[in-house]
């Protein structure tokens, strides 16, 4: 019987330029190098059973990325952390390796919200207080912003997707809705501020770090690594 495991890892520094598909390939090879007893799917072309919670865009750093895997035999969380971190490149650290309870929903299907920390690049700091403007904007009943996706271009109200904002101009914190219903990216929130001021929002102005990803349990947001327990 396979054991379901949730892995939490961080991604920072140069590896922020590695795209999501390459991170997936990186993990496939990492698990082999670290000799983790990863389970394979059955069928003509077996592949490692592995699913990531949420892609991280190129250029973003993160303290909390999640991937669910299945293993064929239990190994202790400490051993797994050691084996994997010995094989990691600089910039990717495994933070936890925890067994999921029976029937747990996989990470991708259960995500509801994520925390971000946003700051401006030194040379691209705005000439106004972005944080103050953001707070003002947040007081309004709705925040309409022009959203461009691969499929459509339209105005959407992002207010219901912004759960909380905090911090100051150097570090703007925001908790945003994610997942299948409403997916809000931190750039879009800052874009809304610029739109409101009728200013051009320059490209690549922000440094963004994902701080945590949450699911919901009985109406309460809990971080994804709170589901599951360390393997002793």
């Amino acid at each position: 019987m396979n054991v379901k495991v949730r892995i939490k890892f961080s991604k920072y520094g140069l590896v922020k330029f590695i795209g999501h598909l390459d991170v997936m390939r990186y993990f496939q090879k990492l698990l082999r190098r670290a000799d983790i007893p990863i389970a394979y799917s059955t069928g003509m072309s077996p592949h490692q059973i592995m699913s990531f919670a949420m892609p991280l865009g190129i250029g973003l750093e993160s303290d909390a990325e999640y991937v669910d895997i299945e293993i064929t035999e239990r190994i202790s969380s400490l051993t797994a952390l050691k084996l994997m971190n010995e094989q990691n490149v600089e910039g990717i650290r495994i933070l936890s390796f925890r067994e999921l309870p029976e029937g747990a929903v996989n990470a991708m299907a259960s995500i509801k919200a994520a925390d971000y920390e946003v700051s401006f690049r030194e040379e691209m700091k705005p000439d106004f207080s972005c944080f103050e403007m953001l707070k003002d904007m947040y007081e309004e009943p709705q925040i309409s912003v022009f959203k461009k996706t691969k499929k459509s271009e339209m105005y959407v109200d992002i207010k219901p997707g912004i759960y909380r904002i905090w911090g100051n101009d150097d570090r703007i914190g925001m908790c945003l809705s994610c997942g299948s219903t409403l997916n809000i990216k931190p750039e879009l929130v800052i874009q809304a501020v610029y739109d409101r001021l009728k200013k051009d929002f320059p490209e690549h102005a922000l440094l963004i770090k994902r701080k945590e990803i949450y699911t919901e349990s009985d109406g309460v947001r809990i971080s994804l690594d709170k589901i599951g327990d360390d393997i002793l």
């Binding site: 520094g13 140069l14 590896v15 330029f17 590695i18 795209g19 598909l21 390459d22 390939r25 990186y26 496939q28 090879k29 990492l30 698990l31 082999r32 190098r33 000799d35 394979y40 003509m44 072309s45 077996p46 190129i58 250029g59 094989q87 490149v89 600089e90 910039g91 690049r121 690549h204």
Partner: protein, 621 residues
């Protein structure tokens, strides 16, 4: 190591920024203050191609075993980054340290194909290193070239300080020691290069004078000093089981062309196909010990986490212990859920059995490379594969469940006639017909799929065809259309798909393959006019080349269309590959007379490679 040569903004603008950040698993980072020599190893093409090359991985790991050396990597910035670097005057850097190349002691550039020559100029240009060797000072790295194109390096002679002729394992230590000695003794760059010419395999082009006659043929080729050798013999590693091998190859983040472990089982080839340069250059055949290879395979798979392993050699079927090695790998792969790929295998009962064990028969295709459409022409090129071999292999394969076949041929081979070309279509048709005869209708899953491809023959230096004339672009295209028409006449033409290459790139390849020093100017002119990444269909443009030839007053036909006399001084005559000119002449004569020469194991044909004192030449001794 978090130094970053390119800003976040640039990295977020360019395609695949992971090409430029280094930091991959198994890349080597040293303290630059603790080494004496910094070596930048460059493959002048995009990262995904360069990272797939075994030779660089071997040299990288070898040089990094030297405590006093730190070897790093460089690849060609893709056109998007090229434009940004030019515009902002950003110097080209090595991946590991992200330091500019000008800070390095050596810049090694591997020359794998002629169509990367403008990329060599791009590297020098972006690195702020003068194009011409004569304009460089100790402020610049020593630029050294290696790889198959150095067996005629003359078109690049102006741009390189040294060409390393032969296999890289043998002479780098001596070269680095000499460099350290000369630098600490404060000798001039010129004097250093002069002394380098005394090391085996080192060709220092600036130390030779070339004179031409009225027609542009070489009339004399002489060293400028008495102690500079007039002939440079290739370096060769005769002990393949006792040399460097990269057991911890670098694992790229981005998906590269060869995303797998590569196990080099042998060097050289016993077959002696007359068009094949590699088959002549790497004589004699030398095999690696099978037990050693098994342990290498396991170590490399563990150290990389790759899910696939591939065997590398010119003709894997000729490796003496192939069955033992493959049986081991198949068993290991099943246990560890790995894939195996076996290129360059002859199709026979053994290989079909192996392939049916390692891949999905319905999805995979079989590859035959008859190279020529008739037995007559196959005799001319000494390709030992007969029509009977092909049909036998194909029938076994069809009965085993395969229904896709790929066929590779060349057009423009010496002595080729319309019958030979028609033979390409007829052989393709014959294989399709065989399928319909062998496999009853009820067992077929649609049509058999035959994909026939032709490339255009480019005569290469140090082969029996080095004197041959090459077809013109128009001749090539006429031939491709002729074959295409023949295909349509075949009964089973609906089961056959025919592809042919573009001809203009083949012509350029032909010019530079057998070119001389006069072509250096053409390269510079073409690069100046925007030629770059000429090996890529989407970035190749003929115009800058046509303009460059015109501007230099050079007629490309001089290098391609002309049949050379066997008495002519060839630009690459100073290079000795062990295989004698007499043997090549004999083989040229045998070709014209349609006479076959046996492979090295069946009978020695006295090519000259015995002089290296090992390998297949002494197998039965």
């Amino acid at each position: 190591m978090n130094k970053q040569a390119l800003s976040d903004k640039i990295l977020l603008t360019v395609e695949k920024p992971a090409r430029y950040i280094g930091n991959e698993v198994n890349s080597v980072v040293k303290d630059k203050d603790s080494v004496d020599v910094r070596f930048a190893m460059c493959f002048p093409d995009v990262y995904e191609i360069g990272m797939s090359h075994l030779g660089i991985q071997i040299l990288y790991s070898m040089l990094n075993t030297f405590d006093d050396v730190w070897c790093e990597r460089v690849y060609s910035p893709w056109t998007d980054l090229h434009a940004i670097m030019k515009e902002n005057n950003i110097p080209l850097f090595a991946l590991e340290s992200q330091d500019p190349l000008c800070e390095f002691d050596f810049l090694g550039i591997t020359l794998q194909y002629e169509m990367c020559y403008t990329n060599v100029l791009q590297i020098l240009d972006l690195a702020h290193i003068p194009f011409d060797s004569k304009d460089r000072t100790w402020e610049h790295p020593i630029v050294i070239g290696g790889g198959p194109c150095t067996y005629n390096p003359e078109p690049l002679a102006d741009f390189f300080d040294i060409f390393y002729i032969g296999e890289g394992e043998t002479a780098y230590r001596a070269l680095i020691d000499l460099y350290k000695e000369c630098r600490s003794a404060g000798v001039s760059r010129e004097e250093f290069l002069h002394r380098v010419s005394g090391i085996g395999g080192m060709y220092v082009p600036s130390l030779y004078n070339v004179e031409y006659d009225m027609e542009g043929l070489i009339s004399s080729f002489k060293p400028v000093y008495d102690d500079v050798p007039s002939v440079i013999r290739k370096e060769i590693e005769m002990h393949l089981s006792d040399t460097y091998y990269p057991l911890k190859p670098i694992v790229p983040f981005v998906k590269v062309t060869q995303d797998r472990v590569t196990l080099e089982i042998q060097r050289g080839c016993i077959r002696g196909c007359r068009f094949c340069q590699a088959g002549m250059l790497y004589r004699p055949v030398r095999e690696r010990d099978v037990e050693l290879l098994k342990s290498y395979a396991v170590a490399m798979l563990n150290n990389t986490g790759h899910e696939e392993i591939s065997l590398s050699s010119l003709s894997s079927s000729d490796y003496t212990h192939l069955k033992e090695l493959v049986d081991f790998l198949v068993e290991y792969a099943e246990e560890k859920r790995l894939n195996i790929s076996l290129p360059s295998l002859r199709i026979d009962a053994f290989s079909l059995d192996v392939m049916s064990r390692i891949q999905d028969v319905r999805k995979s295709s079989l590859t035959f490379a008859p190279e020529a459409g008739s037995q007559r022409l196959r005799n001319v090129i000494n390709k030992g594969l007969t029509e009977e071999d092909i049909l036998k292999g194909a029938s076994e394969a069809f009965l085993g469940g395969w229904s896709r076949v790929k066929l590779y041929f060349m057009l423009g081979l010496p002595t080729e006639t319309e019958d030979d070309m028609r033979g390409i279509a007829e052989l393709s048709n014959g294989i399709a017909k065989l399928y319909y005869e062998l496999i009853p209708k009820s067992e077929r899953k649609g049509r058999v799929q035959i994909v026939t491809s032709t490339s255009f023959f480019v005569p290469k230096p140090s082969t029996p065809f080095q004197w041959a004339s090459m077809n013109t672009k128009q001749q090539f295209l006429d031939k491709a259309h002729f074959v295409n028409d023949c295909m349509h006449e075949q009964l089973n033409s609906k089961s056959i798909k025919y592809n042919w290459h573009e001809a203009d790139v083949s012509i350029l390849e032909g010019v530079f393959a057998r070119g001389d020093r006069k072509l250096g100017r053409v390269l510079k002119e073409a690069y100046k006019r925007g030629a770059l990444f000429d090996a890529w269909t989407e970035t190749f443009h003929e115009e800058p080349w046509l303009e460059a030839f015109d501007a230099c007053g050079i007629d490309p036909d001089f290098y391609t269309a002309r049949e050379r006399s066997t008495e002519e001084i060839l630009p690459w005559d100073m290079i000795d590959i062990g295989v004698s000119r007499e043997f090549l002449k004999r083989e040229w004569d045998n070709a014209i007379n349609e006479r076959v020469t046996s492979n090295c194991r069946a009978a020695c044909s006295g090519c000259g490679a015995r002089v290296f004192g090992g390998g297949v030449c002494f197998e039965n001794a």
